[in-house]
Every structure is written in C-alpha cells, then in structure tokens.
C-alpha cells in the first residue's frame, strides 16, 4: 500500500511494482522512504507484514530518498542503479513542486 498524499499515483505504482519484482526475483524486501532529518517516511514498497521480523538496513540513495531493506546487498548493482535513477527523477520533480 502507498502514501498517496505527496507523490503521484504513477510514482507510487512504479515503486510498488519495482519492490514486488525485487521480492519475486531476489527474495529481498525493499521499501522506499522519504528522508526528512531523523524521519524516514514510508512511500511505497514491499511490506514487512509479508515477511518475518528483521533488522533493517537503512540506505540513503540520495539526500531526499532512501530504501529500507533486509538484504539490500543481494539486489544486483544494475537494479540498484535503476532505483537510484528513478528516485533521482522523483527528487528533481519534488524540488520543482
């Protein structure tokens, strides 16, 4: 499920689909967050409710956005680059709003 207030439904859907794909292909839980000081605010992604309890890896992708995952390093570098690119695009659009 998504946070639908600050981000477009298209952006939310892209991130949600990406998280589902990563879970399916690599067995890794990923969710996308907006970084606001100490607060990492959930945007979209695979839910922890669908997996077991874990210690979260919190990874800053940019100043504005990050990912929280259980096994981030198992996501191939190429996919991680795609995520970074998508989040950078979102950050640019966010700045313009």
């Amino acid at each position: 499920m998504e946070k639908g207030t600050c981000f477009s439904s298209i952006e939310i859907k892209k991130l949600t689909d990406l998280a589902k794909l990563i879970k399916k292909k690599y067995g890794v839980n990923v969710w996308f967050v907006e970084i606001l000081g100490r607060r990492w605010s959930y945007i979209a992604g695979q839910r922890v409710e669908d997996s077991s309890i874990f210690s979260p890896e919190c990874v800053s992708i940019s100043e504005r956005f990050g990912v929280v995952s259980d096994h981030w390093k198992q996501v191939p570098p190429k996919i991680r680059e795609q995520i970074k690119s998508l989040l950078d695009d979102m950050a640019r659009e966010y700045e313009q709003k």
């Binding site: 499920m1 969710w31 606001l36 100490r38 990492w40 605010s41 210690s55 979260p56 919190c58």
Partner: protein, 495 residues
C-alpha cells in the same frame, strides 16, 4: 508587556491572516463537517440498555483488532452492568498487549512558549490571564532544557507551543532542530513530537521538513456549541479550522498525527464519539487514522475559575471507562496518558490500554534546567498531578510487570503512517515493540537507573528476553548480538 504581546496591531493582523478558508471547505461534505452533534446524541440515546450478548460481540470485534462503528461505540458507552465493564476492562488490556505488547513508551513534554493570542476559558495561558508570566524560550534555553531532559535519560519529547506570531512555524522548526542537535555524552533526543496550533498546508510543509515524529492538535471538545462558548475569540474560535488541522497535516505529507479531547468541557461520552468520528474521517480521506489519541482531563490552573465551575468534570470511575471504550473502539492506535493525573490514577489506568506516558514532567517554561522543586501555577498551563522522577515511574511500571520503552525505531526506518498502522493491525509491529523495548531499556538501565530501579528492571528484562527466545527464535541470535553490543557500550541499535 503581556498586553502588547497579544493586542498590538501586528499581532492582531497576524492572527487575522492565519486561517485559509479553502483549506477547510475542501474537506467538507455538502458544506458540513464530520461531527453531527444530533446524530451522536441520537446514537447514544438509541443504544441504551444493550444486551450482554451484543456487548460481548462488540468486545470480540475489538479483540480481532478491528475498529468499531459509531453504533458499537455508543453501545459500549451505555453499558451499566458492572460485570460487563469488568470484561471490557480486561479486553482493553488484552487488546493493547496484542497490538503493542508489554511495553509502555515514555517521553517528556517541553513547553517552549506560553505566548498566545487565544482566550480559551479553561486554559491558564489564555491571553486575558494577566497572572501568567509570559515567556518564549530562546534557542540557547531550549538547548539547556533539552540537556536537562537528556541527562535524566529521556529519548523522546513532545514540544508544546502557544499560538502566537513569536512562536510561528519558523520558531517551531528552529527549536526542533536545536533539540535534535543537542547531545550529552551517550544521550540524545531521538524523536520529537509536536503539539502546536493548526496551520496552513504551506506552513505544515515547512514543519514536515524538520522530520518530526507525530503532529498533535487536540480538538478539545467536539461539541459545536460548547466549543464556541469556551473559545470566544481569535483564531481558535474557528471550530472547523481546528477540526481539519490534521487533514491538512496529512495533505502536507505529515502522516503521523495525534488527536485528543479535553475531558471535562462537555459530556465525556459525546467526546469519545467525537474521537471515533475524527479517526474515521482521517481514515476515509487518507487511508490512515491517528497515530495516537490523548484524553487529558481538566486540571486546576492559576486564575482559571472556569475549571471549578464546569459541570462536566469526569469522575475517576468514568475516566477509566472512557479510556477502555477508546481502546476498544480504535484498537490499533496509541493512547497517551499524561502526568496531569496523580500517581495512583496512572497506576490504575495504565492496564486499561495505555501505550505511552510521560515522567519527570515539568510544564513551566524553562522549568527543567532551573529545577525548581515545586510547581509554580503562574508559570504553568495547569497543575500536574504526578511530578515523580523518571526513575520512580519506571520502577513502578517494572514492579507492575511492564517494560519501559524509549523506542524510536519505527519512524527512522520507514514504519510510518499507513505502513505502521497496517503492521499494528496485523499484529506484526508488536514484535518490533518488544525487541526495541528491551534494547532501549538496557541502555537506560546502564546509563541512568538507580540501583534500586536497576534491580527491578533486570528482572523484567530477563523475562522479556526469555519470551523473545521462545516466540522469535529466528531473530533471537541477531537480537542477542545487539543486546550484547549495547551491554558493551554501543548505543542506538534497533529493529
């Protein structure tokens, strides 16, 4: 000085420009807000004399962690049978355990400013109360207050502000940054919640950027006529501007919000219904309801005769009932009990579903760093019932079988807004609560506890660890790794 602070042309002009009318009307339904006074009264009237079967059916629904419908809450509010109330009391405690486990989160309030343009009849800070000493903390004073709080072991604060141009969103964000930047040895404040006046969406976006925990605005009373009577002038006299404060917050991207009512202004049953309708409206609009519900009672305040004259003051027995019904009505939302209440009442009501409470509270502006031993009514919004230290409160909680938690993990790793609410509803978040309670309690015992409290605390910790080993065998090794690292001096490890 006080008169200039509230009556100068610039202050009046500021107050006249706060409300954005379109940021109310956009949420109305055919021109109406979501509190239908007559409908609430009708529901309370129609659901009198409920059968035990009906009540037990509703209790079962709560135990399945499902939010109640207004008719169901009205039914519970009409229960007279003592035995049924006992069952509801038990159920409320069980609901809390299923959602939030055995922990009680603790925090402290930090009153930053008592300048206010409003004139709420029940409040010690109302603008016409000339006996109150008006102050706004400088950033240096905020830092000193924070240091004092950190030095007692607090990790979570709620920063409180009056409604005034000198404590506008820019002041609020400056103070929050100061709080977050302040460190004392191993200690720091890891989460700051905010209790502040309603703002426009534009201002709320500014607040959002700081990275706060929960944003709270209490409606005080949901009853339209009472609201008008007790808020006679200025910004706060606008019922709907306040009512939709948290809708605007959600729209600005602040997705952890707190609602509350001040019990004693009007019929407590009506206010419980109001809190439910508020929850429902947020859920309908944004897919997520309040992160917390607060339920303070009217307390004495300097030069505030309204409080003595109110005919709706809530008895201790009714106070317990309203807590239970709120717990059962919205099983997954946090519930905050404050030090307004005396120690013996707090001890009695914590088992009824409370999830958070404050300790070592001082509500005078600048009171923590000055460390004055007695309350001073002319410096405070009201008089506190419980002024015990954090150590004393934690010891009492431990003796009652609760572990005190300083957890701030959720909002630092994406468990926020709808995400955390869904996890709470599904019973998943409680395990994070358990793990993080132990880890943060270990920190506090090692850094701050008295010998006496440490002894009691160790027993509780061992009990919790045993349960973690039994119920979370897969995560147990990682948990024990974190636990040992904390015992060895590392800090701020979380799940």
């Amino acid at each position: 000085m006080s008169t200039q602070l509230v009556s100068s042309p610039s202050v009046i002009e500021w107050a006249n420009n706060v409300i954005e009318k379109d940021e109310i009307t956009r949420y109305l339904d055919a021109g109406k807000d979501f509190i239908d006074d007559e409908k609430i009264k009708k529901l309370l009237h129609q659901n009198k004399h409920p059968t035990p079967h009906k009540v037990r059916h509703i209790i079962e629904k709560s135990l399945c962690i499902e939010r109640l419908e207004p008719e169901e809450t009205a039914t519970l509010l009409n229960v007279k049978d003592r035995e049924l109330w006992d069952e509801m009391f038990q159920a409320a405690g069980e609901v809390k355990r299923r959602v939030y486990d055995n922990r009680i989160v603790t925090f402290a309030p930090l009153y930053c400013s008592n300048l206010c343009v409003n004139n709420c009849l029940y409040c010690g800070f109302r603008k016409e109360n000339t006996l109150v000493k008006r102050r706004r903390l400088t950033l240096e004073e905020v830092r000193r207050e924070t240091e004092a709080l950190i030095s007692s072991g607090h990790k979570r604060l709620i920063a409180v502000y009056g409604e005034h141009p000198l404590s506008d969103v820019n002041y609020i964000t400056d103070t929050l940054r100061t709080i977050y930047e302040t460190k004392v040895g191993n200690g720091e404040i890891r989460r700051v919640n905010v209790n502040a006046p309603p703002m426009s969406i534009e201002k709320l976006k500014i607040l959002k950027e700081v990275g706060i925990g929960t944003f709270q605005v209490f409606q005080e009373t949901y009853h339209h006529q009472t609201y008008k009577r007790v808020h006679p002038s200025s910004i706060k006299s606008n019922y709907r501007w306040r009512l939709y404060a948290l809708h605007r917050a959600m729209e600005a991207g602040i997705d952890d919000v707190g609602i509350g009512a001040l019990f004693g202004l009007y019929d407590w049953r009506f206010e419980v219904m109001g809190l439910l309708y508020h929850t429902m409206s947020l859920e309908d609009h944004f897919g997520v309801g309040p992160h917390t519900i607060s339920f303070p009672r009217l307390e004495p305040a300097a030069n505030t005769p309204f409080i003595q004259e109110s005919k709706y003051k809530v008895s201790d027995e009714d106070f317990k009932k309203l807590i239970v019904v709120i717990r059962l009505s919205v099983p997954y939302t946090g519930m905050i009990l404050t030090a307004r209440e005396p120690a013996h009442i707090r001890k009695e009501v914590i088992p009824l579903g409370v999830t958070q409470t404050d300790a070592s509270t001082r509500i005078g502006i600048g009171a923590y760093s000055v460390r004055y031993p007695k309350q001073e009514a002319e410096k405070q919004q009201f008089l506190l019932g419980d002024t015990r230290s954090l150590d004393e409160v934690i010891k009492e909680l431990a003796l009652a079988g609760y572990i005190t938690s300083f957890c701030t993990a959720g909002y630092r790793c994406g468990r926020t807004g709808k995400c955390i609410m869904d996890m709470l509803k599904k019973g998943k978040e409680r395990w994070f609560c358990k793990l993080n309670a132990v880890l943060t309690f270990r920190e506090w015992l090692d850094d701050f506890a008295s010998e006496e409290t440490k002894e009691v605390g160790e027993m509780i910790i061992q009990k919790e660890i045993k349960e973690i080993k039994e119920k979370l065998p897969k995560i147990y090794p990682k948990f024990m790794e974190y636990y040992r690292r904390i015992e060895n001096g590392e800090r701020d490890l979380f799940f």
